[in-house]
Structures are given as structure tokens and as C-alpha cells.
């Protein structure tokens, strides 16, 4: 297991440096003079321009800039936003819980509906239910989620008037963030109606963000289950006279869940990509919307820091999933 861990780290460390290099280079390649952008339309003197160039380090050779960048990263400095003047890490950390809350709810929805749907579809293969689930899953998988979000807004916010269109909670409520998760904080605040408001803001974005993971999980569960159900030990269990419930619940499900858990873990990247669109549609104040806004504002440092932090989070979660998978399934550890 230790060898497996080291092998994984041996891959992830060069990848990490590659990611920093890309985050660094990309931002230098963006069009537009960052210093001029900073000044807005007012324009500025030559001296002021040079002064700001030096302040941000844009006047040094690129390789030196990269060295400085790595050094800053090592000390936990992910840059300072050009627009807000706040440390990028601080901005990221303030907005991250919003994305996290949304993503967790999305993946919970996806698992809650996808897992049983896939399981039942597998055990009733060829039935109407199976066909419905599989058609639904493929439709969900093919869904342009930004459009799906707009449709839900039209229906639930526009026609029925059930849910608000944007934000995390109604402006009527205010309380200090404790966990950063609006659902929990609203309960802790004890204010009447706060939780309901937070919930009604969250539900549509969570459905939109959860759609693709739901489809992937349902499909994966079904095919993993089908594979396991054709195994010899399942036949043996059936032949022993165990009840179908026991065979499926105890013998089949456990083994079928291994690939499914991996798939769930691998949805992190999908969730971040989806968060970009979902948060933009619902004006959800999270990382995805912040990244899009930063790109449009040409906030070099914010995009750079965000890009790096997101990639590191995705890499870290994937590493954990890999290790867990290796822990559950020894065959994986000894493969090349």
C-alpha cells in the first residue's frame, strides 16, 4: 500500500508543477495591459505605469517571475486580486463554501436518486422501468445544463412563482456565517423562515448541477450491477436458496458499489465545470461565477489563483479516490 501511495505521489507531484506552470503562463498570455485595465478609462502617466509594473513584478524576466510565483505559493500567497486588492486565497476561501454547499447537495441528490434507479433497472433488466431509467439517464447526460437551468427558472420561478431566481438567501435575513453553509447557518441563526428561504434558493441550482452526475451514477450503477449479477458467486448464493433481497443487497451490491464509488469521486471535476454554468445562471456567489467574472474583468491574479486552487482540489480528491480504491480493491494496487 505504501508503494502504491508513493507511486501515486510520483505522478501527482510533477503534475502539480505542471499545473502551476500552466496557471502562471496562461495568465501572462492574456491579451490587454493589466496595468492599464487597472486604471480604467482615466489613463495614467508613464511613471505611474512603470511604478505599477514594478509593483506587480510585470517588468522582470518571465522565468524570474515564475520563480517568484513558486516562492509565493510556497508561503501560501496566491496573489492579490487586481480589482478588489484582496488576497486571492481569501476571496477563494470566502466563496468556496457556497460552491461546496451547492456541490454537496447536487451530489447527494445524484446519489440518492441515481443509485437506487440504477440498481432497480439492473435487477429488472429489459422492463419498462429499465428503459425509462436508461432513456432518462442518457437524456440527462446529453443535457446542456445552462439551458436546463433556464427552463427550471421559467417553470418554477416564472410560472409557479415557487422559487427565487438568484442568490443564496433572501435579503430579509442576516446572520454571521458560522459554517459557511447557508442551510446549516440559517438553522443555527434560529430566525423563522431563514432555512426555508435558503432551501428554496438552493434547490434549483442543486438539481441543475446534479443532473449529469445523476445520469452518470445511474448508468454506472446499472452496468456494475449487471456485471456482478452474472458472476459465479451470485449464482452460488442464489443456488444456496438465499432470498433475492439478500443476494442483491449483501452479495451483489457491495461489489457493484466499488466502481460506482470511484465514479462518484471522479465527479469533482464535472461539478466544478458545471458550477461555472450553474452559478452564472442562478447568480450563485461561488467559485464558478467568480472565475467567469474574473475572466471578463481580466483580473489576472484572481484567474491564476483560482485556476491553480481548483486544479489542486480536483487533483487532491482524485488522489484520495485512487487511494481508497486501492485500499478496497488490492488488484488495482498491483497493476502497472
Amino acid at each position: 500500500m505504501l508503494l502504491y501511495l508513493l507511486k501515486k505521489l510520483g505522478v501527482i507531484i510533477p503534475t502539480f508543477f505542471g499545473v502551476t506552470l500552466i496557471a502562471f503562463i496562461f495568465i501572462r498570455l492574456l491579451p490587454g495591459d493589466p496595468v492599464l485595465l487597472l486604471a480604467g478609462e482615466r489613463g495614467m502617466s508613464e511613471e505611474r505605469h512603470a511604478e505599477l509594473m514594478a509593483q506587480f513584478g510585470f517588468d522582470k524576466p518571465v522565468i524570474v517571475q515564475y520563480g517568484i510565483y513558486l516562492k509565493q505559493l510556497a508561503s501560501g500567497d496566491f496573489g492579490t486580486s487586481i480589482i478588489t486588492k484582496k488576497p486571492v486565497f481569501e476571496e477563494f476561501a470566502t466563496l468556496f463554501p457556497a460552491t461546496m454547499e451547492l456541490s454537496i447537495c447536487a451530489i447527494l441528490l445524484a446519489v440518492f436518486f441515481g443509485l437506487p434507479a440504477g440498481m432497480i433497472a439492473a435487477t429488472r433488466r429489459g422492463s419498462l422501468f429499465d428503459h425509462t431509467v436508461m432513456t432518462g439517464a442518457l437524456t440527462g447526460y446529453s443535457m446542456p445544463i445552462f439551458w436546463w437551468g433556464l427552463l427550471l427558472i421559467i417553470f418554477f420561478s416564472g410560472i409557479l412563482g415557487w422559487t427565487p431566481v438568484s442568490g443564496r438567501i433572501s435579503l430579509l435575513y442576516y446572520f454571521e456565517p458560522v459554517t459557511g453553509f447557508m442551510l446549516i447557518d440559517s438553522l443555527l441563526s434560529g430566525q423563522k423562515g431563514a432555512f426555508a428561504s435558503a432551501f428554496s434558493h438552493l434547490i434549483l441550482p442543486a438539481i441543475v448541477l446534479g443532473t449529469i452526475p445523476l445520469a452518470v451514477i445511474a448508468r454506472q450503477t446499472r452496468s456494475a450491477m449487471l456485471e456482478v449479477l452474472s458472476e459465479d458467486y451470485v449464482r452460488t448464493a442464489r443456488a444456496k436458496g438465499l432470498s433475492p433481497k439478500r443476494v442483491i443487497g449483501l452479495h451483489a451490491l457491495r461489489n457493484a458499489l466499488i466502481p460506482v464509488i470511484t465514479v462518484i469521486g471522479l465527479q469533482v471535476g464535472v461539478l466544478f465545470a458545471g458550477a461555472i454554468l450553474t452559478e452564472t445562471i442562478f447568480s450563485w456567489p461561488g467559485i464558478g461565477k467568480w472565475m467567469v467574472d474574473s475572466i471578463f474583468r481580466r483580473d489576472y491574479s484572481a484567474v491564476q489563483g483560482g485556476l491553480l486552487l481548483i486544479a489542486v482540489i480536483v487533483m487532491f480528491v482524485n488522489l484520495v479516490v485512487d487511494l481508497l480504491y486501492g485500499l478496497i480493491n488490492p488488484q488495482i494496487r498491483h497493476r502497472e
Binding site: V11, P14, T15, G18, V19, L21, I22, F26, L29, L30, P31, T135, L138, T139, Y141, S142, M143, P144, F146, W147, W148, L150, L151, I153, I154, S157, G158, S223, L226, E227, G269, V270, F272, A273, G274, I276, L277, T280, M291, V292, I295, F296, R298, V303, L307, I310, A311, V314, M315
Partner: protein
């Protein structure tokens, strides 16, 4: 010929390309969804080709007397504009018809770029192994470490928002999947006796790579190409929606949605139809992709 197309080919099959096609069709047509997807896809291709003949209006002609007109079956609708008009009085149906050209174009270009580059990199990595392999695969690891849409977004921000740049960005983002697949397939094929035999006979590397090995790696690549065709359409639409893809007034479906956003609660049709177009096209291709996988990869069959 037949042995070189499908790696799992059995010896007792009739030889010839036609026989291969016939067997492929036998497997493919078992999957009714796949056949439906194929027919729908062909229909979209025909619509794209004959857009000039089918579309009742030009995609950018503005009818100032008919702004935001609902579809013909709704009160206030006009049979001149079957699916209504948008905020500048352009016919929705005509724009959707012309939009199919963009989506198919995007899919073709993205798949071509990533297929060609991916095959070359994957072949080189799997064939030569060693440092070249490590380097290529590490670069791919880096690309895949970023959420795809985010990386595409940043790439477009660098290159400048346009349809061409969006396609380049999406092709780069999809690259790792092709490289990994090709490399894995090449490494499997390399252990086969016929490769050793070809080597012993003295076949040189390029010929060995492209003539002996590559044709035997095609099955997973074809499936991947079908699936990434649909991903490309979705991602390009998403970029268009965010204002980083095709620019107005291009009738690209994602861009149309972006323009329609502000009318979302006033005119449902300008928001609904472009999305339906994206969804059905992508769904058709994915149905086809599933059928392709079943037909080309008997190991995964019925799973």
C-alpha cells in the same frame, strides 16, 4: 482487411470490407435507440446541407414589424414565423436550421483535430515508451487536472472569444482522452505476435506504427470520437452561452440562448427552442455512440 479493422475479429468470418460492414450493422441495428439516433443525425446533416432551401427566411433578416412574436399556434402568432421571432424580429426556425451547420461543423473540426493529434501522440508514447512516453503522459495529466470547461474558458480568454478559438480550446481540452486511449490500445497490440513478426521481417517504425498497429486500435477510438463529438457540441454551446464562443449575430445555438436570456420570463420560445435543438442533437449522437460501442466492442456488450 477484415482482421485489421476489428481487433476481436474471428477467423471464421467471411472476408472483405462488405462483410465487416454487414456484421457491424447486424450488431448496431440490434440497438433500436442507436438506429433512431443515426436517422436523426442523418436528418440533421441533411438540414444543415440544405439549409438554404429549407429555411423560410434568412438567419439574420430582421422583421421590424414582428418583434418577439410567439410560435404560430399561440395567440398573436403568425404562420410566417412557425416558431416565432426573437427580440430583433429574426425568424427562430430559420436561425435554428442554420445553427445546425455550426454545431456539426464544431463537432467535425474538434473531433478531427483531437483525433489526429491524439493518435499521433498516443502512438508515439505507446510505441517508443521511456522518456517520450513519460513526458507526453505527464503533460496530459496536467491538462486533465483542470475541469474541462474551465480550461477551455481560460484558453478562449487568451485566444480571444470566437468560434474558431472555442473549437481549438475544446480540442485541446479533449486531447488527453484520445492520447490515453491510443496509448493503451497500442501497448496491447504491441504484445501481439503479428507485430513481432512484422518487426522480425524488418518493417520500419513509421510503417509498423501506422500500418500494422494503428488499424488494430481503431475500435475504441471510433467510439470515443462519437462521444466527444457530442461533448464538443455541448461545450461549444456552453462557451457561446457564456459569451466566449461564437459571437452574435451568428445563429449558433448556445449564442442564441445567451441572447435570449433577458427575455426568459417574457418569451419562452426564444429560450426553449435552441436548447431543444442542442439536447436532441447531442442525445442522437450519444445514442449512436452507445450503439457503436456495443457493435465494435463485444466485450462491453450488453453491460
Amino acid at each position: 482487411m477484415s482482421e485489421t479493422i476489428i481487433p476481436t475479429a474471428r477467423d471464421d468470418r467471411p472476408a472483405g470490407f462488405q462483410a465487416v460492414l454487414r456484421e457491424f450493422w447486424a450488431y448496431f441495428s440490434e440497438n433500436r435507440g442507436a438506429v433512431a439516433g443515426l436517422f436523426f443525425f442523418i436528418a440533421i446533416i441533411l438540414v444543415a446541407i440544405f439549409a438554404d432551401l429549407i429555411a423560410p427566411h434568412g438567419p439574420n433578416v430582421q422583421y421590424r414589424d414582428a418583434l418577439l412574436q410567439p410560435p404560430f399556434w399561440q395567440a398573436g402568432g403568425d404562420s410566417r414565423f412557425l416558431l416565432g421571432t426573437d427580440a430583433t424580429g429574426r425568424d427562430m426556425l430559420s436561425r435554428l436550421i442554420y445553427g445546425s451547420r455550426y454545431s456539426l461543423f464544431i463537432g467535425c473540426i474538434v473531433v478531427s483535430i483531437s483525433l489526429v493529434v491524439g493518435i499521433i501522440l498516443g502512438l508515439v508514447a505507446g510505441f517508443f515508451r521511456g522518456r517520450v512516453d513519460t513526458f507526453i503522459m505527464r503533460v496530459m495529466d496536467v491538462v486533465i487536472a483542470f475541469p474541462s470547461l474551465l480550461l477551455a474558458l481560460v484558453l478562449v480568454a487568451i485566444l480571444g472569444p470566437s468560434l474558431i478559438n472555442a473549437m481549438i480550446a475544446i480540442a485541446i481540452v479533449q486531447q488527453p482522452h484520445y492520447v490515453r486511449l491510443t496509448r493503451a490500445a497500442v501497448m496491447t497490440v504491441m504484445t501481439k505476435d503479428y507485430v513481432t513478426a512484422a518487426r522480425v521481417v524488418g518493417v520500419r517504425s513509421p510503417r509498423l506504427m501506422f500500418v500494422t498497429i494503428l488499424p488494430n486500435c481503431m475500435a475504441p477510438l471510433i467510439v470515443q470520437a462519437a462521444l466527444s463529438f457530442s461533448t464538443a457540441i455541448l461545450d461549444a454551446a456552453a462557451l457561446g452561452f457564456l459569451g466566449m464562443g461564437a459571437q452574435p449575430p451568428t445563429p449558433e445555438w448556445g449564442t442564441m440562448l445567451a441572447e435570449a436570456r433577458e427575455f426568459i420570463l417574457r418569451a419562452w420560445w426564444v429560450v426553449t427552442f435552441p436548447g431543444v435543438a442542442i439536447l436532441t442533437t447531442v442525445l442522437a449522437i450519444n445514442l449512436m455512440g452507445d450503439g457503436l460501442r456495443d457493435a465494435l466492442d463485444p466485450k462491453l456488450k450488453r453491460s
